[in-house]
Subunit: 338 residues, 2 copies
Amino acid sequence: MKNKNFKRKKISSENIEDLIRDLIEGDRVALGRAITICESTIVSDRVFANQIVNACLPKSGNSIRIGITGVPGVGKSTFIESFGQFLIKKLHKKVAVLAVDPTSGISKGSILGDKTRMDYLSREDNAFIRPSPSGGALGGVANQSRESILLCEAAGFEIILVETVGVGQSETEVKEMTDFFLLLMLAGAGDELQGIKRGIMEMADGMLINKADGDNKVRARNAKKDYQNALHLFPKTESGWIPKVEVCSALENENIDLAWDLIDSYFKETKANGFFEKQRKRQRISWFKAVLNQMWYLELNKSEDLKIRKTILENEVKEGKLSPYFAAKELIKEATKK
Amino acid sequence: MKNKNFKRKKISSENIEDLIRDLIEGDRVALGRAITICESTIVSDRVFANQIVNACLPKSGNSIRIGITGVPGVGKSTFIESFGQFLIKKLHKKVAVLAVDPTSGISKGSILGDKTRMDYLSREDNAFIRPSPSGGALGGVANQSRESILLCEAAGFEIILVETVGVGQSETEVKEMTDFFLLLMLAGAGDELQGIKRGIMEMADGMLINKADGDNKVRARNAKKDYQNALHLFPKTESGWIPKVEVCSALENENIDLAWDLIDSYFKETKANGFFEKQRKRQRISWFKAVLNQMWYLELNKSEDLKIRKTILENEVKEGKLSPYFAAKELIKEATKK
């Protein structure tokens, strides 16, 4: 039997190698533990976290990453429950579900917080479901989620679903870490749209009108036509792909295969024309820049004095009383003095 | 007579005060010279530049800032020529025209490079036209343009038109430094749209279908209807403002007043509901963050060795061979070692 000491004991330089080996063999407990280490706010854990990320990096990348968004009530969880089972049972894939919620640190998180929302999916051997990390962690929520994706891939998960709530910058962040961006909508395009932030529609590679069941069926078909028309007015995507609209009912498990066909044809097209790899490379660079900015920024928080100074300067700039150059110079001077 | 030595001589701590005084009195030559100093790539000029910006800051802000974008060929210059004269002659305003073109450093700039494109406007006493800064300058093109806006305002210009070519990040940057974002379009919505980047339509506070002259009139009216319908599908804006579409012909000077009415009603609404000031404050903070990131980034370019190291690390990250954390840590360590 393998040494699974890491499950009970605090992680150490002795058992970290075991953890990584088990993760790469596909052990979900090891995967969960590794993600926890990467999410840790304890500074000393970051050494282990970096070791894990570095070890997983060469084994990562062989998946497709799908971002999923939509207003609360659109049925994201029901869709993922249904779609995930389709991928596992029909296509025999290993599916990981992650969540990005920048507010979870404050609100203690509703998103995926309650795993029973995906009752059937969470019982599948080939599924891995992970709630949103708490917002308080060192690397920022988005950077943590990128690490979680890598770890899931290294553990052999082939399809990564990244769910986001439509709060703050979360969609832009999820778009930046995924290959395909799916927007779930409701039939009866109108009031329901108010909750979607501007710019999201144009970010979508595909739109899925959910809850097309019962009386809603006709409205959903009409909405599909409206959105398809609106999408034609949109400028061409860089990938050459023309965003498509489909209609489904996650609740009644209807047309889930059409959703997959839509996504699958995107991947065929963008892998063939080179956009897939091009986008991945660009995403790695922008991750690098985000990490770099983040690390510089941490320098500004290393003492209480500096934090107070930052707040004061920021306020003066906000009121138009101080030039940003002057304020930035002041701050950097104080941050770098030994 | 005033001492206008700064016009001929190299700027010095003796004549900088004169330059600033003349600028604030509305002297366009002083304004032009001051912008040149802010755009200078000579490090020692930055001291003067900061002095100018600091002196202008209390006098700035009392203008409306309008960003203007659209694909090449849509008639941006003709529109600005016509719109600018309308503002000066009918409304008795002082109008400054700036350009943001991140590529001008590379391509030697077509945008506003040829001032004769705005032949009549450039001869107006109450107009100030300034081509795009070269991309090589210290502060980055976007930060320079923000400074130029402040300087124009301090010189008494009441309406600042910021033109952008649709390249790279330029629209997002112009959106970030203006109050109102105007998208110029062509009639016959279709192929002409291909050049507009995705996300731009949803950024617009107003759309103007230009070249509605001759045979194009009917097509322009139809396009207006189409876009107005599409805009209804878009989520609500944070400002509460509903983006509007108008039709005009800059060439034949038709409906230029309608364009102004559209923009003017936006300003009335957003000044009344507080969004105007809220957005300005947010923009100042994001400018501050941009300057801060920029200054940190300069630290990474302070030696040849460091630049080479950065390129190598960046490439490894891009190919997925190195973790961004590892690379960022390496870089910062080398940049901060004394």
